[in-house]
Every structure is written in C-alpha cells, then in structure tokens.
C-alpha cells in the first residue's frame, strides 16, 4: 500500500484534505438548519457559515491592550494545526498519502496543540469569561483524553495499527458492525460530541456564562481571528466525523484511483457526513445541557464502552 507512493495519489490526498476544509462550514450550516427545523423555526440558510466567515474577514479587529502575542497568534496556530490534521485522514479514498508522516496519534496531538493555545488565549486576555471557559475546557480535556486513548487502542488492536490508512483499509474489508467496533463507535461518538463542544457537553448556540465552555474562551475575538477560529472549529468537526465514518461505516469508500470509485466514494461520504450531521443535530434538540459535574458520567460511558470492545475482541 505504501509502495505506490506516486504523484496522482499525493494530489488526490491533498485534494481530499482541501475538500474537507472547504466543505466544513457547509456541514455546520446543515446542522444548524436541521436543528432549526426540528425546533419549528425556519432557520438561516445552510450557507450562512460561509457568509459569516466572509463578513468577519471584511471587518476590523479589536484586540485588548492587555493581551500578548499568544492571543494574536492563536487563531493561526489553531487553523494551521487543524488543517494539517485533515491531511492524514482518508476521506474519499481509503488511503491518505501522508500516512507515513503521521498516524491517528498525530491527529490527536495536533488537536491537543490547538486546544493548548486556545486555552492560553482564553487566559491571556484576563477577562473573567476567558478564564472560566479555559478552566472548564482543561477539566473536560483531562477526562476526555483517557477515553480517546482507550478508544484508539481498541480500534488499533482490531484493525492492526494506529495508522489511519491501515485502519480504514482493513475496516473496509471486514464485516460491518462486529461487536468490538459497535462499542468503539459509541465511544468515538461521545468523544466527538465532547471534542466539538456539542450538547450535552457544551451549548454551541449560547453566550450564557453558566453553560458555555468553548464560546467563553473565544469571546474576545473579532474580525479575521474570529473567522479563523469558527472555521477551524468546523474543520475539526468534519474531520472527526470523517474518522468516525471511515473507521466504522466505511462501505462505499474507494480503494483505488479510478474515477468511478472515487466518485462513488465522494457521494457516499457526503451522504454519510450529512446523515451524521443530521443525527447530531437531532440529538441536540432532544437533550439538555448537562451540569458540568455530570459530564464525567458520559465520559465514563465512553471509557467503559471501549473497554468492553477491547475485551470482546480479545476473548469473545
């Protein structure tokens, strides 16, 4: 698989990463729309996130005098880290050409980097909300991380390695929904909700100090910086969704470089991504935000789920 490292594949790999970056705000828009419709509202157009980004880029930026370089640099670091991570994720074809440079652990590491700077930036402006959001985010990430690693472990032992391309390739060839992967998928789904700040972990639609985590950290941003942060948030969300889709429901993914299979892969990916987006949006209308101290309960489910998955693989 690694032997045929050629130009076509590299270009395709870059293209699919590019696709993710471009496509990301659209999924956010679709989710917002679905949420609005299920709440019997008309809701904004599904392209609203693009309009927001464009509008924000045109606007002037206000930066607090007290803030340091961390605050100014953070949006860029975030954007670069998260966009880099997309390069390692197979999307349309079951193979990412940069697999030799990094695996699923690198993706998590990049996200960790982005998160680290986000937390610092939240503290940097020394506003009350920033600090509050940062401390909540730190607490969340400290409990989410073990869950992620156990999940990765259970996926890795099932599909033989932490390299994303290897995982996706062997997933595409094994039967769907064996118990181990069912449990790992539950785990990853909960983790995605936590990582992207959806309900019941965090409410993405509010600026109420009692509930917000992510929004509190970026409250001081405006203009171009805010646009970058919003965009990178969308990209992170779709990247994680792509991981979930391609590891656990990989059918339809293209395993060679012919136009037909690539087209099929693209179509099936888009359909699945939209379906998952709709699912999450539905879920958000069904559940309420949980108290911060009950969040570990949910993470505990993720950990337990991966643990069971691992066990079933070894002994079952």
């Amino acid at each position: 698989m690694f032997a045929d490292f050629n130009a076509t594949r590299v270009i395709l790999g870059v293209l699919q990463a590019f696709l993710l970056v471009l496509f990301a705000p659209l999924i956010t828009g679709i989710m917002k729309k679905v949420k609005a419709r299920t709440q019997k509202r008309v809701g904004a157009s599904i392209f609203q996130p693009y309009y927001d980004i464009i509008k924000l880029i045109k606007k002037d930026e206000t930066v607090s005098e007290q803030s340091s370089w961390v605050f100014r640099l953070n949006p860029w670091i975030n954007f670069v880290a998260i966009t880099t991570a997309t390069l390692f994720v197979p999307v349309v074809m079951a193979y990412s050409p940069f697999g030799i440079a990094g695996d699923i652990l690198l993706i998590l590491g990049l996200y960790g980097l982005a998160r680290f700077f986000l937390i610092l930036a939240g503290l940097d402006v020394s506003s009350v909300f920033g600090g509050l959001g940062s401390s909540r985010e730190m607490m969340m990430s400290s409990i989410v991380e073990p869950a992620i690693f156990i999940m990765v472990l259970s996926v890795a032992i099932v599909y033989g390695g932490t390299d994303v391309s290897t995982i996706v390739n062997s997933a595409a060839q094994s039967p769907l929904l064996i118990p181990t992967t069912i449990f790992a998928a539950i785990s990853l789904f909960i983790i995605i909700l936590a990582e992207t700040g959806r309900l019941p972990f965090d409410n993405p639609a509010t600026h109420l100090e009692l509930t917000m985590i992510h929004e509190a950290m970026v409250l001081e941003y405006s203009g171009k910086s805010l646009a970058l942060i919003e965009w990178s948030k969308s990209i992170k969300q779709i990247t994680l969704l792509a991981l979930l889709i391609n590891i656990f429901v990989p059918f339809g993914i293209s395993s060679d470089v012919s136009a037909l299979t690539l087209g099929l892969g693209l179509i099936s990916f888009v359909i699945k991504a939209v379906l998952f987006g709709i699912l999450i949006a539905f879920l958000e209308t069904r559940v309420a935000k949980w108290r911060l101290f009950r969040i570990p309960d949910l993470i505990a489910i993720a950990i337990a789920s991966s643990l069971i998955g691992t066990t079933i693989f070894y002994i079952g």
């Binding site: 595409a172 060839q173 039967p175 769907l176 929904l177 064996i178 118990p179 069912i182 449990f183 539950i186 059918f251 009950r294 570990p296 309960d297 993470i299 505990a300 489910i301 950990i303 337990a304 789920s305 643990l307 069971i308 066990t311 079933i312 070894y314 002994i315 079952g316």
Partner: protein, 220 residues
Amino acid sequence: MMPQFDLLAICSAILLITTFAVVARRGFMDWLNAYRYQSIALAGVTAIIAFVTGIWEIYIAAILTFVIKAIVIPKVFLRVTGGLAIKNKIETDPYISIRSSVILSALLVVFSYFITEQFPFKFDKVVNAFLPVSISMFLIGIFVMIVRKKTLNQVVGLLILENGLFLFATSLTHGISLIIEVGIFIDVIIGVIISAILMQRINYTFDSMSVANLEKLRDE
C-alpha cells in the same frame, strides 16, 4: 463491498448496551425502556436459538418472554409508579457514583468474558456469543441492586439479573423444560407484583422510596 451483519453479535451488543443504560441513567423511565428493549432483544435471541436448534418449546419461551417481560411487567410498573413524585423515580444519590459504577460494570463485563474462558463448557456459536453476555447481565444486575438506594432501581436490577439468568439457561442448555420455564415466569410476575405492593407501602410509610430509610432493624 456489501456490508455484512452478524445477527448474534448485534443481539449480544444490544443486550449489553441496554444493561449499561440501566447503570448509566438515573431516571426511572430510562431504566424501564432499557428493560423493555432488552426483553425484546432477549425474545429475539430466544427465537434465534429456537430456530437454530429446532425445538418448538423454545419458541413458546420466546413468545412468553416477549409478552411478559416486554409488555406486562413494564405495564405493571407504569401503573404502580403513576402517582409517584418525581424525586422517587430518579436515583439522585447512589452509594457509588454513576461514573464509577459505569466503569466498574465495564470491569464486570471484562471479568465475565474472562471467566467464561475458564469454564469447561462445550462452545458453539450461540454459547460463544451469549454466555459471557448473560453472566455480565447477571453480575451487573446484582451490582445495581447493591449500589443503588431507590427501591425501583433495585427491582430493575433484579429484573436484569433474571434476564441474564434466562439467557444463561437458554443459551447453554437450549432451555429447561417448559413447565419449569412457566413456573419461573409465574414466580417473576408474582415477585414483581409483590415488590410493587411493597414499594407503594414503603412510599406511603416513609414518604420516600429510598432504602436508606430501612435501617431500623439492627443489632447494636
């Protein structure tokens, strides 16, 4: 590539997930629904085993499971709990916190997979898929009964335990004879009704459904 489904594995996953729903959720309706779905899955599993072995009595057991456990018992519970205050229906303060119990239950599942390995059983596909699941349901049922304070939750734990036992008997030995099966079902129903009466009495007497009230009788 077309997706392939392993029906047995999916059923066992459903059974485990519904068992965990009882551990992880705090509200009575969640437990009841979990129990209902679990019973439906159990009836399905029983029907599969009946199909595999071709013993017609197991079909009857499957139908009985569906009727009694998925319909009658939830109905009884809904009727009993109809007039209860909401504080009596949720588990607010268990002896072991929800998150720890989730992790511990996962360890129980690991343990039961491990222990079935050690048993000198004759393994076939059905035994392989369901024996560890049934033992985990059994253990988690006992666990729930020990760590929860609300009487409702204890009874749900008991029912989970009983489901595990039923699954154990059915998967390992292809069902014990029908008369006994019916006897056990009758015992379960009567047990549920009696516990329902007792719960109402506890609620009436103590104005709460917590077993933490029940500590008058002890030797100093």
